[in-house]
């Protein structure tokens, strides 16, 4: 038997961007239940603007959208805070887009439709990684 999480992890600040509201609506409560703070966007330019003014620990973004696409969001997130982890989710998954995402520093690349559990695990890995490297951001 174990307990749910070891120690008191600080909540993560998570930004979710997907032009389909259903994706935001499904992900938001799932992350909240893990104790994280969540903001959702369906408009990529608004999300980009938000990334410029606030720091997020995790950005979950769709790839193909009107306006700024996922790659731009990925760049924008990394520009504003290099230790922001980006998870790319897409319904148009190809080997090329996956490769490009990783090359540009995405933490993970998940093809839609995906299991809720997969993305929760992904965020958990980010949490663990951060706890293992607490000084990385401060240095």
């Amino acid at each position: 038997m174990t307990t749910a999480t070891d120690g008191a992890a600080a909540p993560l600040r998570i930004l979710i961007l997907d032009d389909e509201p259903i994706v935001c609506k499904r992900l938001k409560p799932a992350f909240q239940k893990m104790g994280h703070e969540v903001e959702t966007f369906t408009d990529s330019n608004a999300a980009l603007a938000r990334l410029r003014e606030a720091r997020f620990d995790v950005v979950v973004t769709d790839l193909k959208m009107e306006g700024a696409d996922g790659m731009q969001i990925l760049n924008g997130a990394k520009d504003s805070a290099a230790d922001t982890q980006v998870i790319v989710i897409t319904g148009f998954a190809t080997l090329e887009t996956a490769k490009e995402s990783y090359r540009k520093g995405a933490f993970d690349f998940i093809a839609k439709p995906f299991k809720l559990r997969d993305i929760l695990d992904c965020v958990k890995r980010i949490e663990d990684k951060r706890r293992g490297l607490p000084t990385e951001a401060e240095r």
Binding site: T3, I22, K25, G35, R117
Partner: protein, 857 residues
């Protein structure tokens, strides 16, 4: 394997105008492959209903297109095989594809919607057509099996027809501009004008007649010559995120002569100034306004009222009831004295607080229509309007509704004349506290809780369940299932449907996403986690647990915060547009209507879903291949040969070259004349394993026989009528299609010395009968195949096993095993009395196989 066939068949040169058998057989194989892809895609879509996956409308568009594409190509391949145009099949396909496209484009109301729908045919899938309020009542009545008033719904299809015919939409758009400009006077004038135009508009004759016909049907059902009904609004968005409470008009106690008039009044209420303003303030577009109208029998009970399933302001874990004598309307309005009861939310729903009001008068239906006030008899004025039994009945039903909708509910109810609890309406209750973000208490509660297990199992239906565990191993356990418990079992079983209405959740050690129990659990929205492997070893009857079937975690103890969080989530997945769209798409895709190939209804024109088309083509393709080889065999292929064997297989064999040793023109074939290695081994497995008919079937010989007598007489009645069982063979290759009763088995196998080419593809598809036992058989087959190293996939009734690149002796062993398996499963239905039989049969089968191998059978 196909290439091997091609090489061998390359010797045949087709005559002009006749396609070579190679081409036709290739088409046949392509049909089988596509058939499989279609079944898998369908199963895949069905899985998405459980809530475990995040999907979007892009997925729905893509998977629908892919599916349509496969079905179209399936018909095209079949057209080459049977060398006809198959216009009927293409037409059926176009009908279905059109319906799917209309669903995806959101146009369905105008093209596919019924103008009138009976309450018995309504559920949440139709909420665009019948409005949220009536869709909810439909679910309550048809899915939760609680009583709701009988009646019908005049749908939004009628609303749109009515408005378009009278050009009523022409001015509505202006309202949005007035609102943006905050020109409320203009909006008020527009509202008055709209209402007058609606009240004066003519309902298209045809529609009026249909409404009156539905009313007459209802009167007949009720056995009343002068039926009076209530007309209630059921608009888009009403009872959804915004409550619209009391905004729209209901007209009570309406007779036939005033029905159409009352309909217009209810519809006009959508354009009252107050309602319109409310709608605009909530951000609704004019294109999102549509009104369905429910037409319900008036239930005249001695007492009625309103219940809130969640009343945190009164007490923790409490629900609140207001009740009075007479009709429910005054209590909803809240302007009449009513008894107040506070009940616990958990069984036995104890009465925590009771305040009896003085109730001098009650609203009752007037004899000539409408309603009237009546004095309450003196001794009842200060008496409680409900008995303790009624409170318990009401509380239990209400919690069932809340669990289904995963939202606190506001429920209007009445105890009808016979004392039956009738639900008049249920809508989500907006909680005052609006704590949309979970507080630290949730994180802390889950952090401090003991986890029994986590990260295990498959989510069949998402959700949170709290309650006591009740383990079910046999029928007695099931019969003793207590109200509100969480079912724990080794296996999944559709028999659990019996307790689903009273269960809070299901956890099993073994099981899959698909299958009958999964479908049923989704139907009841019962949080269900299967295939945990360990649940029964860690949990016992009586344990209090919290099942989080969104994150695959089981906590020990009851975590109220988690349950509470679910109740205040912004949107319930099952209420989302995408979920409902998926449900409607699946209705065009999955249900199988063509069941019996020998019935007259087994025609292309009768195909109503993609599944029907797929099923039809598979059946016919097998027949076609036999037919083709009969027709053309004399020229460039040997005629199909009937296999002479003691086994009731009705098997026709087409030799593509080197598969048989008998004379080419011989109409029959003995087992000894089979040169095809896979078929020889398969038959040996069937006959030699002693599994075909050895043990006498002790029970139910009738049902045992019925599983294959349908094939046997046909195959014995002469070559022309020979049905469905076909093997195409070469020396090392076999493709066999066998239908025994309603069950289809396909094996495609290539066996030779060269390991790399070796492969076996096995597919079993169950039929339509023996619901419960059949799913046990599927589980049995899957387990046996896995024991023999097959890669196994199970989708509902479909089991697919694949095996590749084993050495020849091992492949031979497995072909024999498959023969044994076909023989064994053929009579298994009648012997599978309990889920525990599955393991017993697996063990028995493996034991027999091992003995056979030892004795060199």
């Amino acid at each position: 394997m196909a290439s091997g066939l091609m090489r061998r068949l390359a010797f045949w040169r087709p005559q002009r105008d006749v396609l070579p058998f190679t081409v036709l057989f290739k088409k046949f194989q392509s049909i089988l492959e596509r058939n499989n892809l279609i079944l898998e895609l369908m199963a895949d879509m069905g899985d998405k209903l459980g809530g475990e996956y995040v999907f979007d409308s892009h997925y729905l568009v893509e998977v629908s297109e892919k599916l349509g594409d496969h079905v179209f190509k399936l018909i095209s391949d079949y057209s080459i095989l049977n060398q006809h145009q198959n216009a009927d099949l293409f037409l059926a396909f176009e009908r279905i594809r059109f319906a799917i496209q209309e669903e995806l484009a959101g146009h369905r109301i105008l093209t596919a919607g019924e103008p009138i729908l009976d309450m018995a045919a309504i559920g949440h899938e139709q909420s665009e057509l019948v409005g949220a309020k009536m869709a909810t009542l439909g679910d309550i009545r048809n899915r939760l099996e609680l009583a709701a008033p009988d009646g019908f719904v005049i749908t939004t299809r009628t609303f749109f027809d009515f408005f378009q015919r009278n050009n009523l939409f022409a001015r509505t758009e202006a309202a949005e501009q007035y609102w943006r400009d905050q020109d409320l006077d203009a909006l008020r004038r527009l509202a008055e004008e709209m209402q007058q135009r609606i009240l004066a508009a003519t309902l298209p004759r045809r529609l009026g007649q249909r409404i009156l016909a539905a009313f007459d049907d209802l009167a007949r059902r009720q056995g009343q010559r002068r039926l009076l009904v209530a007309l209630r609004s059921s608009a888009w968005g009403e009872d959804g995120g915004s409550s619209f409470a009391g905004q729209y008009q209901s007209v009570l106690n309406v007779g036939r002569d005033r029905l159409i008039d009352a309909y217009r009044r209810v519809v006009a209420s959508a354009y009252s100034f107050e309602t319109w303003q409310y709608r605009l303030s909530k951000g609704f577009h004019e294109s999102e306004t549509a009104m369905a109208v429910g037409c319900q029998v008036v239930i005249e009970g001695p007492a009625s009222g309103v219940l809130h399933t969640y009343a945190p302001h009164r007490a923790d874990g409490a629900m609140l009831v207001n009740a009075s004598w007479g009709l429910c309307a005054p209590i909803v309005q809240g302007d009449q004295p009513a008894d107040t009861m506070v009940l616990g939310r958990k069984p036995p729903y104890p009465l925590l607080d009771l305040a009896i009001a003085d109730k001098p008068r009650q609203l009752v239906p007037a004899a000539d229509g409408g309603t009237e006030w009546q004095a309450v008899p003196g001794h009842l004025q200060r008496a409680a309007s409900m008995t303790p039994e009624q409170m318990a009945t009401l509380a239990r039903a209400s919690m069932r509704i809340e669990r289904y909708y995963k939202r606190p509910q506001e429920i209007e109810w009445t105890f009808g004349p016979g004392g039956t609890l009738t639900i008049l309406q249920s809508r989500p209750l907006r909680l005052q506290e609006e704590a949309a973000v979970p507080g630290r208490e949730l994180v802390e509660a889950t952090r401090d809780a003991e986890i029994v297990f986590s990260g295990r199992g498959l989510v069949v239906q998402q959700g949170i369940a709290v309650g006591r565990v009740h383990r079910v191993d046999n029928d007695e356990d099931l019969a003793a299932f207590p109200y509100g418990a969480i079912l724990l079992s080794r296996y999944t079983s559709p028999r659990y449907a019996a307790v689903m209405p009273i269960a809070r959740g299901i956890i099993t050690d073994v099981g899959s996403h698909t299958g009958h129990m999964a479908t049923l659990a989704r139907e009841y929205r019962l949080p269900t986690l299967v295939n945990t492997e360990v649940a029964t070893s860690l949990l016992r009857t009586g344990d209090e647990i919290t099942l989080d079937a969104t994150q695959n975690i089981v906590y020990r103890g009851i975590i109220v915060a988690l349950n509470h969080f679910q109740l205040i989530e912004e949107e319930v997945f099952e209420d989302s547009y995408e979920y409902r769209l998926l449900g409607r798409l699946l209705k065009c895709i999955s249900p199988l209507h063509l069941l019996d190939p020998q019935s007259e209804g087994f025609t292309p024109a009768a195909c109503r879903t993609y599944h029907d088309i797929t099923r039809f083509i598979h059946e016919k393709a097998v027949e076609e291949l036999i037919h083709l080889s009969e027709k053309q065999g004399a020229r460039h292929l040997s005629a199909p040969k009937r296999l002479e064997t003691g086994l009731p297989l009705g098997l026709m064999v087409i030799d593509g070259g080197g598969g048989t040793t008998c004379a080419p023109e011989s109409p029959t074939l003995t087992v000894e004349q089979i040169a095809c290695l896979p078929l020889r081994e398969l038959l040996q497995g069937m006959a030699g394993m002693g599994m075909w008919c050895t043990e006498p079937v002790a029970v139910d010989l009738g049902s045992f026989m019925s599983s294959f007598t349908r094939t046997v007489p046909a195959s014995l009645s002469g070559p022309g009528a020979i049905g469905r069982n076909l093997a195409v063979v070469l020396a090392h290759y076999m493709n066999i299609n066998m239908r025994l009763g309603y069950h289809f088995t396909i094996i495609d196998a290539y066996l030779a010395e060269a390991v790399n080419d070796n492969s076996i593809y096995f597919r079993f598809l169950g039929g339509v009968t023996g619901f419960i036992r059949r799913s046990r058989r599927v589980a049995f087959i899957a387990k046996v195949l896995a024991r023999y190293d097959f890669r196994v996939e199970v989708h509902g009734d479909l089991v697919v096993g694949r095996l590749k690149k084993l050495s020849l002796p091992r492949m031979v062993q497995r072909m024999r095993m498959l023969g044994g398996l076909i023989g064994y499963t053929r009579q298994l239905d009648v012997r599978m009395h309990a889920d525990s039989d599955i393991d017993h049969h697996v063990a028995h089968f493996l034991q027999v196989m091992q003995e056979q191998e030892r004795t060199g059978g």
